[in-house]
C-alpha cells in the first residue's frame, strides 16, 4: 500500500534553493563568491573560466557552461561519509570548484532534463565526474573517491539571466 502511494507521487515534485554562486577567473584560481551572477545562454557565467575559455578543460569539447553540486553532499563529507580510509575533511562551497551549490535538488535525477534556477533555464547535459586534479589542488587525498557518483551536474544554459543566492530551483515538465 505504501509502495503504491510512493509510486503515485510525482517523481519531479521537489523544490530547491540556490545557496552559493562561485566563479574562478582561470584554471587553478581560488573560487570567488558572487552575490549575483549573469548567465549567458550557450556560453557560461560571466567572468568564469569556462565563460572566458581559460579553464583547465576549456580545450575539450564538452558541456560545462555551469556546474552544480548539492550542499547535502558537502554535509555528508563533513561528517565523514563515505568512510574511505585516510579520507576526511571539509569541502566548503568555495573549495569544490562547481559554480552553484544547491539545497533540496536531486541533481543526479536530472540528467537529460531541464530545470529552472531563478529566471534561468538549465539543461543537465551530464553528471559531473570527479577528478584527481581537485584532490591535488585541495591537498585532500581520497576526495576523488569521496565524490564518485555525487559530484553534481554539468549543465548548458538554455535561457540566460541574473541569478542570486536564495533563488528557487524548480523542476520543469519534459
Amino acid at each position: 500500500m505504501l509502495a503504491q502511494m510512493i509510486l503515485q507521487e510525482d517523481p519531479m515534485r521537489w523544490t530547491g534553493t540556490l545557496l552559493n554562486i562561485h566563479i574562478a577567473p582561470a584554471a587553478s584560481y581560488e573560487m570567488e563568491e558572487l552575490a549575483e551572477a549573469q548567465l549567458e545562454a550557450g556560453r557560461g557565467i560571466v567572468g568564469d573560466r569556462y565563460y572566458l575559455g581559460t579553464g583547465t578543460y576549456s580545450a575539450r569539447p564538452d558541456v560545462r557552461e555551469v556546474t552544480l553540486i548539492e550542499a547535502e553532499v558537502l554535509e555528508a563529507i563533513a561528517i565523514g561519509e563515505p568512510q574511505i580510509p585516510g579520507f576526511k575533511g571539509e569541502l566548503l562551497p568555495e573549495d569544490h570548484r562547481r559554480n552553484l551549490t544547491t539545497r533540496g535538488v536531486p541533481l543526479n535525477h536530472l540528467v537529460g532534463k531541464r530545470f529552472r534556477v531563478g529566471e534561468c533555464v538549465l539543461y543537465a547535459a551530464r553528471m559531473n565526474f570527479p577528478c584527481k586534479y581537485i584532490e591535488e589542488l585541495l591537498q585532500m587525498p581520497g576526495l576523488y573517491e569521496g565524490l564518485l557518483n555525487r559530484s553534481g551536474l554539468n549543465c548548458a544554459i538554455e535561457v540566460g539571466g541574473v541569478i542570486r543566492p536564495g533563488d528557487a530551483i524548480l523542476p520543469m515538465e519534459g
Binding site: T56, R60, F129, K132, E136, L137
Partner: protein, 313 residues
Amino acid sequence: MAAPRLIMKLRVAALRPTGGETLVVEFQHPRKPQLPAFTPGAHVDLHLPDGKVRQYSLCGDPADRSRYVIAIKREAQGAVSGWLHDHLREGMILPVSAPRNHFPMQPTEGPVTLVAAGIGITPVLSMARALGAEGRPFALHYVAPSRASAPLLDDLEALCPEGSLHLHLREETGARPDLEALLATPAKGAQLYHCGPAGFMAAVEAATRHWPEGSVHSEAFQPPDLGPPQPFTLRLKDGRELPVAANETALQVLRAAGVPLMASCENGLCGSCECGWSAGMPLHRDRVLSPEARSRRFIPCVSRAEGVIALDL
C-alpha cells in the same frame, strides 16, 4: 611538470627593504585569516601581469599561517625582479600559488648544518626558524661579501640562538670561506641543507662529497627542458610492440590497438588513464603523479618515453 596548485589573489600587506638590494614582501589573504600551511624549504609561485611565473622561497615562520613572506633580490638582468621592486605597493593584489616544497627537511633527530650564500638564505631562514621553535641545535653558515649585501641579516641575528650563526663576510675576512675545512667532519647523523648561487652550491657539493649518502640536500629550481615530442615504442604484457609517432600520444595508440583504458581530461591532469610501467625510460609530462608514484606509474595521454617502455597493460 608540476602538479596543479591553488592560485590565490593575495594582498601585499607589508614591504621592507633588506640588505643586498632585496625587498621583503609579506602577503595576506584579503578574506581568510589562514593561508595553506607550509613546511620549511617551501616556495610559492608569483604570477605576474604579463603571464610570467616566478618561484620564491618562503622565508617566514612556518608556524604563522596568517602570512607568506618572501624576499626578492633585484637581479642585474632580471626584468621580473626589477618590475616587482619598482611596482609592488602595499595593498596591491597579486596571484600567488599555494606552497610546494622541493627542499623539505628530513625527519631526523641528528644535528643540522645550514649553509647559504646571498639570497639563498631564504629557504634556510624558514628552516632556522623551525629548528629554533623546536629547540633543536643547528649551525648556520651564511656567506656574503658584506653586511650591507647580506639579505635578512637582521632577522637571522634576532632569531638564531647564541653561537649558532656563523657569518662569513668577505669584507671582514678578506677571502671566501674555506668550505672544505668548514665541512670536513660531518657529525654522526648530521644533515646538511644548502642554497645559493650555482657556483657556491657546486663548491658545497664538492666539499661534502665524503658525507654519507642522503645527508646533503639542496634546492634546485630547474624545470626540465621539454623538447619537441619524439617517437617511442610501447611494449605490452602480451609482447606486442606499438610504435608511437611524434604526433601521436601513447593513449591514442593504445586505444587504436584495442587496449581498454579510461580517460577523461587527456591533459595529464585528471589521472583517469593512469597505468603502470615496469621497464624503460619514461618522460613524465603529467601534472598529477607524485615523484614517488612516477617510479612505477605512467599517464599515457601526455607522457612519453625514450626508446621502448614496458607498460603493465
